[in-house]
Symmetry: C2
């Protein structure tokens, strides 16, 4: 049977989503460990978004093929009983046999939160990038317009050996000011390695006046990581939603 | 010169506000350590609310008499540079010489957050009490009405050797549902040791149907800690504001 898992996590303590050979300090590793114990046989899960170390998720989706007598609710309870308190399984549901959380994903939504006021918020500190500068938000919105649409985003990708296509479609970049915080919400059909963090770093440089909004066109055309801005820190990023 | 400090902290890692003899893992201890280094002489600060271990503050106020060449802004920057990231000095301001943060406080506002839905919120987990039960909020509001006003709150105080008056005035207890969370906001002229947490525990027992709202009158009259409900966990409690 194939199951869909909806997952939330505070990524602060983890080495990212994807299981690594030499350490199991990953979200995938933690969940597989509990599922494998439950099924008494190794279980592998597929995550929709391979979030980096320190990145959070409010709506990660994964799927797993496994055999168990338990109901979906019982699997969910079992997982939450044994997982650490910074990982929560929100729902477990039976899925079509060919459902694949990553390959079937139609849209993903990521949110980047920047603390822009003069003081950090101690309660949100692990989920914000502590910038504490005044940014020119209208200029950032103008730059975001140039980035929206279907483009080759090679300049916004950290993986230099990327052989597959780096063409992606960004449907929307919303930039909102909420009190002392700037929230940037990216909706797209998929994102390259570090792409949201590099987009964010570049937009922050626009907000500081270091780059002009229309420079975005040139950065896209150059197809060179060196043309874009810095990689914004992982802590400010959250995978909000995966749509099918 | 006397200074007023406005302070925020995530109390999770600390042994409470008040400095202890055998450990300096307290908020007061951490701030005094930095101020004493700055002034190169021991500095003592007075906090308005002596929050327990694990309790948070969004609006703690303290005052300190000290001699320094620095401006208020420079003191604030110095503190934030050397304090850990879960303590933030929001503002430093010169105060009247006889200003005492605790003795001059007119009103205090505490908020208790209960996670009531079936799932915890991983991002708010350190600031909520993970109850995950359905509570009868209208009954809790009815009970809160009985507790509002001027009463002897001895039944709601953990300190058995308390010799001073245990009469306090609660101006308001607001109970709001926000999504999967219940927020209880207490405004009063002062609160006894553990009083907000015992009030909360007792109101939760009303919400579960284990106690009737009108029982509050009897609990108050008994003047006995054993008459009231359990002490709700520290993590859900935040000192929101001190008014002068």
């Amino acid at each position: 049977m194939n199951y869909r898992l909806d997952i939330q996590y505070d990524g602060t303590r983890y080495g990212g989503w994807q299981k690594q050979k030499d350490t199991d300090n990953t979200i995938q590793g933690k969940i597989e460990e509990v599922l494998s114990r439950m099924c008494q046989t190794p279980v592998t899960i597929q995550g929709a978004g391979r979030t980096d170390a320190g990145v959070h998720a409010a709506g990660q989706v994964a799927n797993a093929h496994m055999e168990t007598e338990k109901t979906s609710e019982e699997i969910c309870e079992y997982l939450n009983r044994y997982l650490p308190e910074d990982i929560e399984i929100v729902r477990v549901k039976q899925a079509a046999d060919r459902f694949h959380s990553r390959l079937n994903a139609r849209e993903k939504v990521y949110q980047y939160r920047v603390a822009a006021g003069s003081h950090k918020n101690v309660f949100e500190r692990k989920y914000q990038c502590p910038l504490h500068e005044n940014l020119d938000v209208p200029a950032m919105r103008e730059a975001a317009e140039f980035l929206t649409g279907t483009h080759d985003f090679k300049s916004f990708c950290s993986n230099k050996k990327m052989k597959k296509s780096s063409v992606r479609t960004i449907y929307d970049i919303e930039i909102r000011e909420e009190g002392q915080e700037i929230r940037m919400t990216y909706t797209g059909d998929g994102f390259l390695y570090n792409m949201v963090r590099i987009l964010t770093g570049t937009l922050i440089e626009v907000g500081r006046g270091e780059r002009k909004p229309e420079e975005m066109m040139e950065i896209l055309e150059r197809c060179d990581r060196g043309a874009a801005g810095f990689t914004a820190p992982a802590r400010g990023l959250t995978l909000l939603e995966v749509r099918y």
